[in-house]
C-alpha cells in the first residue's frame, strides 16, 4: 500500500426483532450474550481476545484472526448509554499494527409492533485503502455462520 487516503462512509441498518426491548438490550449489555453474536468464532475465524465493560467510558475489545493470519482488533469506547433506548460508542479497527478505521456507532432501540426496532448508524473514516479485502473476508465468514444457523434451525 502506498500513500495515505481517507474514505468517509456512513450507513444505517434497521432491523425489527420479534422480542421485547429488554431482551434485545440484554444482547448488548450482557458480556457473554454479546459474545455469541458480536465476536462469534467460526471455521474461518478464531478469536483470541474478548473484553466488554458496558458503561460510559468503558471499553470493549475483541481480537481474532482468519486462518491464522494477522490479528483483526476491534476496540471501542462507550460514550453514551441510555438504558433500553440508546448506545453510542466510538471504535477503531486494526489489522496487526495497521490502523484501518475509526467510526462512531449509534444504536437506537424502540418498541415496535410487540417487538423491537433497532436502528444502527455508523459514521466512519477508512484509512489508506486497507479495508476492502478484509471486509470481504469478514463477510464470507459471516455467510458461513448464517449457513450454519440455517442448517440447525
Amino acid at each position: 500500500m502506498t500513500g495515505r487516503s481517507q474514505a468517509h462512509h456512513d450507513f444505517t441498518l434497521e432491523r425489527t426483532f420479534t422480542v421485547p426491548v429488554e431482551k434485545v438490550w440484554a444482547a448488548f449489555a450482557d458480556k457473554e450474550t454479546k459474545r455469541l453474536w458480536f465476536a462469534a468464532e467460526n471455521e474461518e475465524l478464531s478469536m483470541t481476545a474478548y473484553e466488554e465493560d458496558f458503561r460510559v467510558g468503558g471499553h470493549g475489545m475483541n481480537e481474532g484472526s482468519f486462518h491464522g493470519g494477522p490479528p483483526h482488533r476491534f476496540h471501542c469506547t462507550y460514550t453514551d448509554i441510555v438504558d433500553l433506548e440508546r448506545i453510542i460508542y466510538t471504535y477503531d479497527m486494526w489489522i496487526g499494527d495497521t490502523h484501518i478505521s475509526t467510526s462512531i456507532t449509534t444504536i437506537v432501540f424502540e418498541p415496535a409492533d410487540g417487538g423491537t426496532r433497532l436502528t444502527l448508524t455508523e459514521q466512519g473514516v477508512h484509512l489508506d485503502g486497507y479495508d476492502n479485502g478484509e471486509q470481504r473476508e469478514l463477510g464470507t465468514a459471516g455467510l458461513l455462520d448464517d449457513l450454519g444457523a440455517t442448517l440447525v434451525a
Binding site: R15, V24, A27, T33, L120, L143, D146, A149, A153
Partner: protein, 105 residues
C-alpha cells in the same frame, strides 16, 4: 464465467417473468409465450439465453417442447448476493438468529 451468464440472463424483465412462471411448474414454449406481446422466435431467443445460463432446461416430446426450471439453478447467484454484506449486517444477522432461538428467561 457462470455468474456472468446468470446475471446477464436475469438482467431482462421478460426472462425474469419467465423464471417466475416456471417456479410454479414446467410449461410448454407456447404457454410460456402467451403472456408476452412478442413473436415466438423472440420468446425462443429469451429461452436460449436462460438455457445457456443453466437456469432452465427443455425437452421435446412429440411436437411439444417443455421448459422447466433447473433445480438449484439460482443458488450460485443467491450465494453471491448473500456474500455481499458488510460486517455490521452479518453481526445483526447473527443477533437476529440468537434472539429467535434463545428461550425466554
Amino acid at each position: 464465467m457462470t455468474l456472468d451468464r446468470m446475471f446477464h440472463a436475469l438482467s431482462d424483465g421478460t426472462r425474469r417473468a419467465m423464471i417466475e412462471r416456471l417456479v410454479r411448474n414446467p410449461a410448454s414454449v407456447s404457454d410460456l409465450a402467451r403472456p408476452f406481446e412478442m413473436s415466438l422466435p423472440a420468446v425462443v431467443q429469451h429461452l436460449a439465453v436462460l438455457e445457456a445460463a443453466g437456469l432452465v432446461t427443455s425437452q421435446k416430446i412429440g411436437r411439444v417442447r417443455t421448459v422447466q426450471l433447473a433445480p438449484e439453478a439460482l443458488t450460485a447467484a443467491g450465494t453471491w448476493i448473500g456474500q455481499q454484506r458488510i460486517p455490521a449486517e452479518r453481526q445483526l444477522d447473527r443477533l437476529g438468529d440468537l434472539l429467535s432461538t434463545t428461550p425466554e428467561r
